[in-house]
């Protein structure tokens, strides 16, 4: 996962001096199911983003026009690098715009 350095090459005291470097650990490999957001059904309420424990939902300034012509300035996307597939987002979504589908493993 990370290079195994010698005792002379690391900070003293076991200090970790790079904040939030856990981002190097892509926990997305854990999941057995993944959330899929239906961008047409999504009302951009922000609830999935709010309740993700990782967080693995990105709030992007990405405009979107739904099939019915509704315009949004924001788009929420799953960050599949970190999503562990818990399904809280799907459970909490007030309009059921998120579906949990099995994680497909390439044969």
């Amino acid at each position: 996962m990370s290079e195994l350095k010698s005792w002379t090459q690391i900070p003293i005291g076991g200090y970790i001096t790079e904040p939030q470097n856990s981002v190097k650990n892509k926990t997305g490999s854990w999941r057995t199911q993944r959330p899929v957001i239906d961008q047409d059904a999504c009302t951009r309420c922000r609830m999935c983003w709010l309740y993700c424990p990782e967080p693995a939902i990105l709030e992007l300034n990405k405009p979107y026009v739904t099939k019915s012509g509704r315009k949004y300035n924001l788009t929420f996307e799953i960050n599949y690098d970190y999503c562990k597939g818990c399904g809280i987002c799907a459970n909490e979504c007030p309009v059921k715009a998120i579906k949990m589908v099995p994680e497909v493993v390439q044969q």
Binding site: L4, K5, S6, W7, I10, P11, I12, G13, G14, Y15, I16, T17, P19
Partner: protein
């Protein structure tokens, strides 16, 4: 008392000669170095240190936060937090308190925090005893702290000042214990030359950017969990630092000598140049009583000497070997016990290994005395010298510790 005055120090450095108990001398030193935080819980025989510090803080003589914590475990924990936030920190404890904070002792050295702690040595319960010996100190000898054992109030005062310099040195960054006799030193008054506060503070300057601190400007994570892939290397750094600290300790000792006119070294020898029979001691009472006995034995023609161990961790093997190599027989007087060990004197074990590793083949004997302040009579040490003479001439070396004073 040995004083090595290399040159005439500036008269202005000494501002007075005061009658102080070792406890009060230590409090005085802590005030002089301008600590920022004291976190402590009272326990006999340390109490008068923290009472004096509370007094200093209450009347503004020492600008520090005095945290009257609710246990010794919290005392060292609070000290750890304060030190990690960049404060200069002091605490003190003894016996049961030292035991209670034991896990935090390892954590402090593992986290590389330069805390200074005074430990007047006291016997360990059970049975419960408030009286002095060094069982508590010996139980923490493997916790990775630098450990000094003082023999006079003056030395304790001087050593606490040095301790902050050593601890905070970027090559060390380890916590330091200054230990001494519980009651026999903590509560007895001796003359102490106290120094000009400005001179002490110049000797212990604040250093910046020598270690990561808890500060939002540069967020660091301290106390991470280390898996088998990493624990070993992180621990080894601290072990190496303890070895490296010896060089810094000697440097600081020299500089202290230049500035304040006193140096103590890692070991202190008395009449060793031609000594045949040497008692190895630590602390005050054992050393000074042994010295009295040695002088008396000398008066009767026996070539007696005393070697006091002042720096206990890191152990000064080379200094010991140099001073003991030519003796005919050596006894190590321990005021603590290592039950179930091949020989039951804890410092005896260190001395034995140091000598044998250096190829010194002389008889070394383990003596246990002064447990829970059982009186160590001068005549006991006097008899020891003659015992050493017998051992050297007959070659009958006791293979077990001699428990002196036991009924």
């Amino acid at each position: 008392m040995t004083q090595v005055i290399e040159k005439e120090r500036e008269r202005s450095v000494v501002v007075g000669k005061v009658g102080l108990t070792t406890n009060y001398a230590i409090a005085h030193a802590v005030k002089d170095v301008d600590v920022d935080v004291v976190a402590a819980y009272p326990i006999t025989p340390q109490t008068t240190i923290i009472e004096k510090l509370a007094e200093y803080v209450a009347n503004g003589e020492l600008d520090a936060e005095f945290i009257p914590v609710e246990s010794e475990h919290s005392a060292l924990s609070a000290a750890v937090g304060a030190s990690a936030a960049g404060a200069r920190v002091f605490t003190a404890t003894s016996a049961q308190g030292l035991e209670l904070m034991h896990e935090i002792l390892h954590i402090t050295s593992g986290l590389r925090l330069p805390i200074v702690m005074a430990v007047p040595g006291r016997a360990l319960s059970a049975p419960i005893s408030i009286h002095g010996d060094y069982q508590d100190l010996m139980n923490v000898r493997d916790t990775g702290w630098v450990i000094y054992i003082a023999s006079t109030a003056q030395e304790a005062y001087d050593t606490v000042i040095e301790a902050f310099r050593v601890a905070e040195d970027p090559r060390v960054l380890l916590p330091v214990i200054v230990s001494y006799d519980g009651f026999l030193m903590s509560h007895t008054t001796e003359p102490v030359e106290v120094y000009d506060t400005k001179a002490v503070r110049e000797f212990t300057p604040r250093r910046h950017n020598t270690r990561p601190l808890l500060n939002p400007e540069r967020p660091v994570t301290m106390g991470a969990l280390a898996t088998p892939d990493w624990y070993y290397e992180i621990k080894y750094q601290a072990i190496n630092a303890l070895r490296v600290s010896r060089g810094v300790i000697d440097e600081v000792d020299s500089e202290f000598n230049r500035r304040f006119g006193r140096a103590y070294g890692a070991v202190e020898g008395f009449m060793l140049d031609d000594a045949d029979y040497i008692l190895v001691t630590y602390g005050g009472a054992a050393t000074w009583n042994a010295l009295e006995a040695a002088k008396e034995a000398r008066g009767r023609g026996l070539r007696a000497g005393v070697l006091r161990i002042r720096l206990f961790r890191p152990f000064p093997s080379n200094d010991l070997v140099k001073r003991l190599a030519d003796a005919k027989a050596v006894a190590v007087v321990d005021r603590a016990i290592a039950p179930g060990s091949p020989v039951e004197g804890p410092v005896f074990k260190d001395v034995y290994i140091a000598l044998r590793e250096a190829g010194v083949d002389k008889p070394i004997v383990s003596v246990i005395h002064g447990i829970s302040q059982r009186t160590m009579y001068i005549r006991d040490f006097y008899e020891l010298y003659y015992k050493l003479r017998d051992i050297a001439s007959t070659g009958n070396v006791p293979r077990e510790s001699l428990y002196m004073g036991l009924r």
